[in-house]
């Protein structure tokens, strides 16, 4: 283990490579890779890693990057890739297949604004567009968390009770290209943490089955139901993976939801990604002034940990949801899910959505202060509030 300065991309590339190498005693590691800003450095790192038993296939599109990873997973290898924004959009058809084939593929996704217009800065609209597919989604706040969560993702995905692919998301540039200190694990530790992958349904000559052929409505619905069952097991299995991570690496890779100062909080901010760091600092300052304010960082988004969230918000009267994403005609996507989590259970709770930092806008402490000021005096919920845009002009 060593402490080094790394970018989010380097952390992710390192974690993916070590995880792939850790399967060398089993069927090895294979991944399809394709560049897109701002994740390119991840696949560059993977491509230059000296795998003992692995192959990195540089393909012609994101669609094929996931396609190669799917084929590799069907063959029993540990498979992974990385992408971002329009790349994820182009990949989507095969992203779907990885989930429906119950393949434990891990993908690091760097959240970047979907175009057009052309914009390479952070926005979660890309991964959230994929939220209804059979993938687990984890959103990270720091580079260390990206590294750790990527390793946890393999253990979670490959657990027999789960067998679902996992997307590990981080913010474009704010994390992907920003260095911070991180503790880099040794291969030996990762070998101890990640067991050999033995995919129960991999293709074998002895077993002439057709994967993905025609099914009838009831069987397809049954498949969805089985996925739902696996999703329901995620919070518990994730917690196990988190604990065993702490045993091997001697640090916490992060809870499904991270609650800060919520015990007696009247108003709770809910944020994800690097915004959580800024929001935590604002909460700390306001707490020092005696304000009963708390913060929840949403890390596990699919499946959405509703019970844990409700539990953490027991004392809250108001929730301010900060969304760096926009669902057209709806508002913030986290806000939408959070309203669903409390619906019919906490009718006293005021849940207000704030759209902030969209398409790469900075979310400064001042902006979070503005949100805190609003939620503190707010008596009625309103339509999602847009920050950082001109709202007074004529609509087009």
């Amino acid at each position: 283990m060593s402490i080094q300065l790394v970018t989010g991309n380097q952390a992710a590339g390192y974690a993916l490579s070590l995880a792939g190498e850790a399967n060398r005693e089993a069927r090895g590691a294979v991944c399809g890779i394709y560049p897109i800003t701002p994740q390119t450095e991840i696949v560059e790192r993977v491509a230059s890693f000296p795998f003992t038993k692995g192959r990195v296939v540089p393909v012609e599109s994101e669609h094929s990057a996931m396609g190669v990873s799917i084929g590799a997973a069907l063959g029993g290898a540990r498979a992974f890739t990385a992408s971002s924004s329009n790349g994820l959009a182009y990949m989507t058809e095969n992203v779907m297949v990885a989930g429906f084939y119950r393949l434990p593929i891990v993908m690091v996704a760097v959240n970047r604004t979907l175009g057009p217009p052309w914009n390479i800065w952070v926005d979660q609209g890309d991964t959230l567009m994929l939220r209804d597919l059979p993938w687990i989604q984890l959103y990270c706040e720091t580079n260390q968390e990206v590294l750790d969560t990527t390793l946890v993702a393999f253990r979670l995905a490959e657990d027999r009770r789960i067998l679902l692919p996992v997307m590990v998301a981080m913010d474009a540039f704010v994390m992907s290209h920003t260095t911070s200190e991180a503790s880099l694990p040794a291969q030996e530790q990762v070998d101890r943490y990640l067991p050999r992958l033995e995919l129960p349904h991999r293709l074998r000559h002895e077993e002439p089955k057709t994967i993905g052929g025609l099914t009838w409505p009831q069987e397809s619905a049954q498949q969805r139901f089985e996925i739902d069952r696996a999703m329901a097991r995620v919070p518990e299995v994730f917690e196990e993976c988190r604990r065993s991570f702490a045993e091997v690496f001697e640090r916490d890779p992060g809870d499904a939801i991270d609650a800060y100062e919520v015990e007696d909080a009247e108003a709770v901010l809910i944020a994800s990604g690097s915004i959580a760091t800024t929001a935590r600092e604002v909460v700390r300052r306001r707490r020092a002034r005696g304000e009963r304010l708390g913060l929840i960082k949403a890390k596990l988004y699919r499946p959405f940990p509703e019970a844990a969230l409700r539990n953490a918000c027991r004392s809250a009267r108001k929730l301010a949801v900060l969304d760096r994403n926009y669902g057209a005609g709806v508002g913030g996507i986290f806000w939408q899910d959070i309203r669903g989590a409390f619906q019919g259970r906490r009718d006293d709770l005021l849940i207000q959505g704030y759209l902030t930092g969209l398409c790469g806008g900075d979310v400064t402490p001042e902006i979070v202060e503005e949100i805190v000021s609003d939620i503190t005096v707010r008596r009625e919920p309103a339509a999602p509030i847009w920050l950082g845009v001109e709202t007074s002009g004529e609509a087009h």
Binding site: G28, V59, I70, G71, T210, G212, L214
Partner: protein, 313 residues
Amino acid sequence: MSILADENLHVPCSDECLLRPGNTNCGGCGMSIGLTLLGRALERAGERCMLVIPACCGIVTAGGYPTTAYGVPVAASTFASAPAFASGLASVRDLNGDDGQVICWAGDGGTYDIGIATLSAAAERNENLIYICYDNEIYGNTGGQRSSATPHGARTTTTPSGKAEGKKDIMSIMAAHGIPYAATLSVAHPDDFARKLETALGLEGTRFLLIHSPCPAGWKSDPADSIELVRIAVASGLFPLYEVWDGTRYRINERPSWIDPGGYFERQGRFPAWQVDLAEVIAGCKARYARLEVLAREFPHRETVSLQDGPGP
């Protein structure tokens, strides 16, 4: 010895067939014949295989879950992605030293159209897989729409007055990648068909096989005419049988007898009589064949002479 007359050929029981009896494919389907011949070639070579099949009649062939008409492992891929899935699968096989071929089995839509970028990329990387396109010149599974493999003049549901454009020359495109082997196959020439499969099975890297595959539903032809139609196509020069090694060395396998291709068009409802200018068709066939002949003469493929067969001291 002809593959059809080989008495030593093991007759497999249903579980050992690549394409099992009782499948629901159409009568006169060229793809079904192709799968059967592929199964026999594998049997002969003592090889196993895994199939990757994109959206096409070939995946419908499997039938409804949990049964399958395939006696080998099959992975359904997305329409454009068979060569990508197969690249991953073949990579894992090679990393682990497993035996068996990874074979993509795809229609012309998945090959000439939506999958061409994926196929081109796999060929450019010289992935260790066999790609077989059963070309019935139409989107058959969706009820008969034009593809870029549909020949000039053919009526489809999306070219109701006949296709204005000609057929894409996929063989030249694939050969231009410099892949170890590319060949055209006809189900009317089973021995040539079997020999080419054998050749492909004996090589490594990307091997591309193009089967002219009759489709009575799409061609609006009598299922009993299927073999005869593709036989005419070879004899009249419409579908020359040839092979290309490394994109540079050519061999023609069957010289056309230049019979009148009229019967080919008359016996298929997809060609309205007024759409086909036979003189123009014949001139086109002759021109394409003349080019092929020059290539085969100037850049011939010669079988590698093994040490045992080599000249004595």
